[in-house]
């Protein structure tokens, strides 16, 4: 599904990614771990297409199509979803209004008519239930005044609504207490199928107890320095990142 | 030039030469303002012809101008023909001891914790013993000389560095700028001149306080500071102690020039005589201060305004160079019948230029305080930023506080943010302090100091200590 070859990227002349190779297939869950500043969030942003980063070398293929030439929204409409580490507040736009616009813009791309309001509401209710979200939430403004947990839950709610092929969860566990973490992880797990894939970016092993990865990669200085199965995460937790970086 | 004028000039330049010098000893030229007075001032100062010509042009321009009325100030008509335009260097009546000094003034000095010797000096008491400050002055002059810094009275600079004066005078504040700037340009008496050479960090804070010889420069001061490429200077204006000058009118001009990568930090504590609690007397303070910033240069204005009956003052920055920075930090306290109309202008011309404005007004008694400011982002000032915050604190229901910001933006990549609040001093805060055993007056001083912290923090340390005390004194009696 996703093929990254020798990806190099920089921001304002500072090199951050120094040759990433990563391959993700349908049905898989990949965890990317690494110390602060290793390039985890940059990798997520580059896949999503954030313009601040300049890709200097390498390629990203998504379903055999070159991703680097596509705009952010085109990538999104191809089925890439980024759950933000710091979801952006958009005062003046309610969650329901935002979701409606996203869904209908996507349908427009696909040559479909806007989704009837009742169907849309039904769909939103269904996904809210999945994430234990109460109904007042839809009329609140996007992320405005949301607690850390509410913001992350809102991200996963949108993930559920947009039903992407590839989900990238950037530090979705940060700022969550254990109960909120379980709810979010549970939501993600329920949405997993044979046809979609997930990349979980995290600093700690904790989240991986709930979203169990098939593969774990360690990112350091903009390169994947070690890959393995889920046991690698435990090893990291035990020995710390020094274990990898000192080698 | 008319025949008459030529005659007058001839007379003034020859025959009456000494006569006028005698007059100086008697302190003053006759009241009133005309071309002759301008010529006389120039003559007394032995100025070159070009400077006299410049003064005369300024005078002609002033004659055509009208006194501005747009400010939110209310004061009696000034009769410009009934003022004396040259009364310096004023030989003050020498007092024999502190006993002869106004006890009110002494009380203030005491509160500020000023050492006895300095008290004497400030009050104009003849100091018998060789006073410390003389040696201070000598040592600091040595230090500056080594660094290549020029710091001298303006009139001395006219004689010693005429090329520098000629090149820069009126370049930032042209005499056409406004009524008071034109007046100052015609009749300015003296002031300070500072020149910091390239790649030089001025080794000490420069302060007029140290420059005793020019402490009484009188009503129409003119200051010019030039910071060459990569230089830095911090300049303190006014005094570190309250000089209670009782001249009726002050119209000063300050020009700052910061070349590429240079920085000037200009701090003022203004504590001229504010008039008594009935609103009688006090200084009218009309000041034009402006600086120009070239590439990567920075000007930072900090002012604590507690004195004068009327203040009209807008220290400004022309951010001409790319990446230049302008800052304005101000505390203005008005009490009794004082009026202050003060603020700043930030004119963004260069790309990535940034400006910050923090203005705190505190109004008590029957006073009125206004913030008046302009932020202008010109078409070419791509990516410019401004942040302004203007807060007013009101104490008493007879005072007024006003905010008049002008914001003009002609560039769409720029961001401007302006916030202003006006509120009463927090009764719950006072109560909290009272409950902890602090009396109301001290509580107010404490709260006001906290309120002004952002600005006071910008002052050099010794200055800040005295400024804080000054705030307390200014607000005395403001609690009903």
């Amino acid at each position: 599904m996703l093929n990254i070859k020798n990806l190099k990227a920089q921001i304002e002349e500072i090199k951050i990614l120094n040759g990433i190779n990563l391959s993700v297939n349908a049905g898989e869950v990949h965890a990317i771990m690494g110390p602060n500043g290793s390039g985890k969030s940059t990798l997520a942003s580059v896949i999503a297409g954030k313009e601040d980063y300049e890709v200097t070398d390498g390629e990203i293929e998504f379903e055999s199509e070159d991703l680097l030439d596509l705009a952010v929204e085109e990538r999104s409409n191809k089925g890439i979803f980024l759950s933000f580490q710091y979801p952006v507040e958009i005062p003046g736009i309610s969650v329901s209004n935002f979701m409606k616009t996203c869904i209908n813009e996507r349908r427009k791309q696909q040559g479909l008519d806007p989704m009837p309001a009742t169907d849309l509401l039904k769909l939103m209710r269904e996904k809210m239930e999945l994430l234990n979200i109460n109904s007042g939430y839809l009329s609140r403004n996007m992320n405005e005044g949301f607690s850390g947990g509410e913001k992350k839950r809102n991200e996963i709610f949108q993930l559920a609504m947009l039903n992407p092929k590839l989900s990238i969860l950037d530090e979705t566990d940060s700022g969550l207490d254990i109960d909120a973490l379980k709810i979010v992880a549970n939501g993600v797990n329920k949405l997993r199928t044979e046809n979609n894939a997930t990349i979980v970016i995290t600093h700690y092993q904790r989240l991986l107890d709930y979203i169990v990865p098939d593969f774990v990669h360690v990112l350091y200085n903009g390169k994947i320095v070690k890959s393995g199965g889920k046991e690698l995460a435990y090893e990291l937790e035990e020995k710390g990142y020094d274990w990898i970086t000192k080698k | 030039m008319s025949e008459n004028l030529k005659k007058i000039e001839k007379i003034t330049s020859s025959k009456y030469k000494y006569g006028f010098i005698t007059n100086i000893k008697e302190d003053r030229v006759p009241n009133g303002l005309n071309r002759n007075i301008v010529k006389t001032i120039s003559k007394i100062k032995n100025e070159p012809q070009w400077l006299l010509d410049w003064r005369l042009k300024a005078f002609s321009h002033w004659e055509k101008m009208k006194e501005p009325k747009w400010q939110n100030l209310n004061y009696p008509e000034i009769d410009f023909q009934d003022l004396c335009y040259y009364s310096a260097p004023k030989e003050k009546k020498k007092l024999k001891s502190l006993d002869e000094v106004d006890p009110e003034l002494l009380k203030t000095y005491k509160k500020l914790g000023i050492p006895l010797d300095e008290q004497k000096m400030l009050a104009g008491v003849a100091v018998d013993a060789v006073f410390d400050s003389v040696s201070i002055v000598t040592t600091f002059k040595e230090t500056l000389k080594k660094a290549g810094v020029i710091f001298c009275p303006f009139s001395e600079a006219v004689q010693k560095y005429p090329e520098l004066i000629k090149k820069y005078i009126g370049k930032v504040v042209p005499y056409t700028d406004n009524y008071y700037a034109a007046l100052n340009s015609a009749v300015f008496s003296d002031g300070s001149f500072v020149y910091i050479p390239k790649n030089t960090r001025c080794p000490m804070e420069l302060s007029t306080y140290f420059r005793i010889n020019a402490a009484n420069t009188g009503q129409f001061e003119r200051t010019l500071i030039i910071a060459e490429d990569n230089s830095y200077v911090s300049y303190l204006e006014g005094c570190t102690a309250p000089m209670r000058d009782e001249n009726q009118l002050h119209a000063a001009v300050v020009e700052l020039i910061t070349m590429d990568n240079a920085e000037i930090k200009y701090s003022t504590v203004q504590n001229w005589y504010p008039g008594d609690e009935k609103g009688v007397g006090g200084v009218f303070n009309f000041v034009t201060k402006r600086g120009i910033c070239h590439k990567n240069a920075k000007i930072s204005w900090t002012q604590v305004e507690t004195g004068s009956a009327v203040t009209w003052k807008y220290p400004s920055c022309i951010l001409k160079g790319d990446n230049s920075i302008g800052e304005f930090f101000s505390v203005a306290i008005t009490n009794n019948f004082q009026q202050a109309d003060t603020g700043t202008k930030m004119v963004h011309l260069g790309k990535n230029s940034k400006s910050t404005i923090i203005a705190k007004g505190i109004c008590a008694g029957k006073s009125n305080g206004s913030y008046r400011g302009l932020v202008r982002i010109n078409k070419g000032a791509t990516n410019s930023r401004n942040f302004s915050q203007c807060d007013s604190l009101l104490m008493g229901d007879k005072c007024g506080s006003h905010t008049f910001p002008y914001i003009e933006v002609k560039n769409n990549s720029s961001q401007v943010e302006h916030e202003a609040t006006t509120s009463k001093i927090g009764e719950d805060q006072i109560f909290y302090c009272n409950q902890r055993g602090i009396d109301t007056e001290s509580a107010i001083a404490l709260i006001v100091n906290g309120y002004c912290k952002d600005v006071l923090d910008q002052l050099p340390m010794e200055f800040a200590v005295e400024a804080k005390k000054l705030l307390e004194i200014s607000l005395e009696g403001s609690v009903g």
Binding site: G92 | D397, N412
Partner: protein
Amino acid sequence: MSLINNLEKYSKTLLLSTEEKNDLNSFFSSGFPNISDEEWKYTSLNKIVKNDFVVEDLPVFDEDNIIDKVSLGFKNKIVFLNGKLVSSPKIDGITISDFKSFKSKTNNSILSLNSSMARNGFSIDVENNTVLNSPIEILFLISSTRNTFLQYRNQINLGKNSNLKIIENIHSIHENLAFINHFTQVKCDENSIFEYNKTQNNKDNFSLIDTCNIYQEANTTSSVNTLIFGGSFIRNNLNFEQNGENAESNMNGVSVLNGSQFADNHTFVDHKKSNCRSNEVYKGIYLDKSKGVFNGKIMVRPESQKIDAFQSNNNLLLSDESTIDTKPQLEIYADDVKCSHGCTIGQLDKEALFYMKSRGLAEKEAKALLTYAFTNEAIDKISVPEFKDKCEKLIAEKLNVKLDFNH
């Protein structure tokens, strides 16, 4: 001939009372305001008033379904065609009539001109305790084949405990220049509630000076929502005077301008009594070469204690050539007050744009949605759903997107 000559000539044909003569003289002695006047510093009338205008009465016109086309479809409609009142509803407890002469403040030349020569407009009197739930829609339609100068002079008097909502639209249909000097005086007696919704959506041949003076007694709430979507020149003077305790004045404004359109919102709230509030939210969006001006003043008089006044003016400059001049002012003479203003000028938040695009919205739609979100705080205050819908549609239209912003 310029407008002032047109007016001078026409004034000689009118029968004027002594007061009207005085007003007329004061107008001619000062003329139209110019940029040396502090209140008109950023706003020049020169280009408009140098033109030749027809200032005399125009004939009523007849155009197919024009009223239906412009109307939002409310049952209660007051319609003016070229200055003439052609229809007005009958509503219990409310008297609606054609122009009636009345006294008003004439503290500037624009108002002197209006007071001396205006002969068109409406007069609405709402009896005590009359509550009208559906709004009255007022249409001022202009159609002429020549450049037209028109003045309206309206008054609204709300009785005690009454409630009135108005939706007003001044609209020019023809292609020639139209310049309107519009004045409305509103008096709100105790406990009344008033909402005034204005849309200003015209072509680039249209210029408008709209002055609205609202006088509020105790316990009244008065709101004016001004939505500007077009016209070559618009100047709104909105003045509130609070003459009773516990009065509340609300102003909301949205301007979305493009081309070389110009809009200037001048507001003034005079807090003359204690325990009063004012709330002001103005949002400006400037595209192309458009230019915006905002001047808001809050005055708190001595002894008006416990005043809560809030004013905000936010602007988005969305093109290289657009400009904004803004001047939010506070003038406060009482100490127990909470007054604040905030003003921002900037662009759309890049992080938010990226976030939206990462959810699949195209650049244009993401920008439009974000721009709409920016106006939402002001739009949200409109209590008439039909009017709100219309405004949202107009925003989408102006931003050139097919988005439905409704919740």
